[in-house]
Assembly symmetry: C2
Homo-oligomer: 358 residues x 2
DNA sequence: TTTAGCAGTCATAAGATGGGAGTGCCAGGA
DNA sequence: TCCTGGCACTCCCATCTTATGACTGCTAAA
C-alpha cells in the first residue's frame, strides 16, 4: 500500500525530514516521554499548536512510521518512537537542557562535603546521581591497568607477614598481604621499598604485571624468598580483579510502567547485579569527548533492549579514567539526563583536579 | 518487641501443643513453604499420612488458628502460618538440616580460591550465599570502632601531600590523604610513623578517635602542622563512615509470589539500597552464639514485615567481628538457610583464621 | 473423639459487553 | 498539490457477570 509509495526513499532509513515531520517526531517523543502513553494524532493537535488538522498529522505519522521513526503497538493505538526515532530526536531535534539552579547547588554542596578518597567519591557520586535522576546510576572506576605506579611501601607486620601498599597515579592504594622470610626486618622492607620506587616509578601498572621483579631484587642483594613475595604482591596489585562498578537507584525502575512486567524487570536487575555486562556496555564511552547516549538495541543486548543509557567520561587530573552512566527505560528524558550526567562529571573532574595537587 | 525472644512464648500465645497439633503445624509450614499456597485440610490428609480424616484436621486447625499459630487469608481458603507459627516451627519443630555434599564442596572450593583481603572476601561471600540461597544475602563488615590499631605508615607522596595507611587488627588498611608542611621529608614521616606505632599500638580505634595526637607529637618534637595533619588522618580512619554492607541476590525476590505486588517489592528494594535499616536489623546478632532467625514483625519494620532474616555471626581470629545474613520472604526454607549460613560462616571463620597468622 | 455429609463463603478465572481512542482512506475544497 | 471533514473499521481495556472449585464450620451419627 503506502509501502509501494515510498520504497525508493524509505530504503536507507534516513529520508530527509522536512520541518513539519521533524516537529511532529520531536513532539511525539516529548509527549510519550511525559505520559508513557502512545501518542495519537488528535492529542497532538489538541495539546500542541500545529496549525493543521489531525487528518494531516495522521498522514505525516503514517509516513514517519514507514520511514522507521515511529511504531504502532497495535492497529488502533497511537504511535511511539522507535530506536531510530529516539536517535534522531537525540542527535538532531531535542533542545539541550541545563541543570536547574537547585540541582546545580545540590551537586556543588554534595561535592564540597565529599571525601577525598576515590572509592568514597565514586560511591557517593553514584548515589547522588541515582537520586537526582530517578534512574539507575552506575560508574566505572579507573582501571588499574591504565594507571601508573607511583609508590610502594612494604610494611612489616609480624615475623612472618607484611603488607604491601601500592599507590597509583589516581591516588588509590591497593593492599596485598604477603609472607616473608623470618629474618627480614622492618628496615629491610624500607630499603626494599625505596629500591622499588626508584626502579619502577612512573611505569604503568600493566607493565609491572609482567616485569621480572624477582631478578631485579636478587641482583640488588635481597633474598630470593622476599623477592618472590614482592613480585606476587606486584602482580596481585596490577591485575585488577574487575573494574569496580557501583550502582544505585534500581528501585526507581519499579515506578516506570515499562517495568511492570516482572520478567523485563528481572532481566534488568540481573544485569545490574552481574556488573560485567554493565561494564561492557559503557567501557567504550571512556573515549568519548562528552555525553553520549545508547538507545535500546544499540546496547547490543536483548535483555536490556527496553533500556537506554547515558554516559559521560570523567577525568582524574588530565587523564580520562572512568565513565559515569545513567540507565533507564528508553522512554527517558534524554536532555535532562545528559545535562545531569555532564554537570556531575564536571563537578567530579574539578573535585579530582583539586585533589590532584597530591 | 520480641527482642527478648522467650517471653512471647510464655504470654498468651502458648497453649500446650499436643503431638498431633505439633505435627499438623509443622506440616502446614512445610507444605506452605514448598507450594506458596494456603494449605487445606484435605491436602494434608492426602499428601501426608495423618491417620485421621480431614474433618478432624479441620477441627485441629481451627484450634491452632484460635491459638495464634495459623491464619486464614480469607474465609474459604486454607491456612498459612502466622509469625508465631513460624517461630514455633523454627524453635521446636523443624528438623535441622545439613549442607549437601555438593553445596559443601562448592563453598570449600570458593573459599580455597578466595582472596586474602577482607573486602574481597566479604564481597565474594555475599555473592556466593546470594546465589546458593536464592535469596538476598548481605554482610556486616567489621566495624572499625572495635578493631585495634596495629600499624600506621605515613608515606611521602609529594612536596605537599602524604598518604596515611592505617592497618587494624583485622588486616584492613584504611587510607587517608593529608597535607603536610613543605619542609617535611620522607625520613621525617618514617620516624613519625615509628613513634606513632610505639605510642598507640594495641589501642582500639575508638580510643584513637579521641586521643590528643597533636600534643603527643608536639612533645616529641614534630611540627605543629604535621602533627595536626596526622591527627586528622587518625580521626578519619577511626570514624568509620558507616559499616560496610555488601548485598547480593535481590533479583531472586522477583521469583517469589509474595513479591508480585510491586509495592511490597519496592519497599524491600529500597531497604536493601539504603543499607542503614539492614544494618540495624542484624547488628544485634553479632552477640549471638550461632545462627538466629527473625521472622516478619519481629524485624520491627512495617516495610519488611513480609520478610524473615537468618543471621549468623562470624569471627576474625578469636573475635566476633561481623554478621552474615540471608533475607527472604517469611515463607523461606528456614532449616536449609540456617545450615547454609552456618556452613558458610564456618568456612569464613577458618579462612580468616588461616589468614590470622599475619 | 472421630467422621461423613452438607450448606455456605469467597477468590479466581473465563466469557460477554460496551466504550473509546485511534487509524486509514476517500472525496471534496482551497 | 495539499489539506480537511467524515466515515467505517479495528482493537484494547475496563467492567460486569457467571461458573467453578477449594475451602470452611457445623451437626448428627458412629
Amino acid at each position: 500500500m503506502t509501502a509501494k509509495d515510498k520504497p525508493a526513499k524509505a530504503a536507507p532509513l534516513a529520508p530527509p525530514l522536512d520541518q513539519r515531520k521533524a516537529f511532529i517526531l520531536a513532539t511525539v517523543v516529548y509527549e510519550y516521554v511525559a505520559t508513557a502513553e502512545p501518542v495519537g494524532s488528535q492529542t497532538l493537535t489538541q495539546k500542541y499548536n500545529l496549525g493543521v488538522s489531525s487528518a494531516t498529522i495522521r498522514n505525516e505519522m503514517a509516513e514517519l512510521e514507514a520511514a522507521g521513526y515511529l511504531v504502532q503497538p497495535h492497529t488502533s493505538a497511537g504511535r511511539i518512537p522507535s530506536d531510530a526515532g529516539y536517535r534522531t530526536y537525540v542527535d538532531r531535534l531535542m533542545q539541550p537542557e541545563t541543570l536547574t539552579n537547585e540541582e546545580a547547588k545540590r551537586i556543588r554542596d554534595e561535592f564540597r562535603a565529599a571525601s577525598r578518597e576515590l572509592d568514597d567519591v565514586i560511591e557517593q557520586t553514584t548515589r547522588l546521581v541515582g537520586e537526582l535522576s530517578h534512574n539507575v546510576a552506575f560508574m566505572i572506576a579507573p582501571s588499574r591497568e591504565t594507571q601508573t605506579f607511583r609508590h610502594i611501601q612494604l610494611i612489616w607486620l609480624s615475623e612472618r607477614t607484611g603488607l604491601a601498599i601500592l599507590v597509583t597515579s589516581v591516588g588509590v592504594a591497593v593492599q596485598t598481604h604477603f609472607e616473608h622470610g623470618e629474618q627480614v626486618t622492618a628496615d629491610d622492607l624500607t630499603r626494599l621499598s625505596n629500591r622499588l620506587n626508584v626502579t619502577f616509578g612512573g611505569r604503568t601498572m600493566r607493565e609491572l604485571g609482567d616485569v621480572e621483579v624477582t631478578a631485579v631484587l636478587r641482583d640488588a642483594g635481597f633474598g630470593e624468598d622476599l623477592a618472590r613475595a614482592v613480585e606476587g604482591a606486584f602482580r596481585a596489585a596490577a591485575r585488577s580483579p574487575e573494574p569496580i562498578v557501583a550502582s544505585s537507584g534500581a528501585q526507581h525502575l519499579l515506578d516506570q510502567p515499562e517495568f511492570q512486567d516482572l520478567r523485563k524487570l528481572q532481566s534488568v536487575l540481573r544485569i545490574i547485579e552481574e556488573q560485567k555486562t554493565l561494564y561492557d556496555l559503557v567501557a567504550n564511552s571512556i573515549n568519548d569527548e562528552g555525553p553520549n547516549v545508547k538507545i535500546g538495541r544499540e546496547l547490543g543486548s536483548d535483555e536490556i533492549m527496553e533500556c537506554s543509557v547515558v554516559t559521560v567520561p570523567y577525568r582524574f587530573g588530565d587523564q580520562t579514567v572512568g565513565v559515569l552512566a545513567i540507565m533507564g527505560p528508553r522512554r527517558m528524558p534524554y536532555a535532562r539526563l545528559m545535562a545531569l550526567a555532564s554537570g556531575t562529571a564536571q563537578s567530579l573532574n574539578r573535585h579530582f583536579a583539586d585533589a590532584d595537587h597530591r
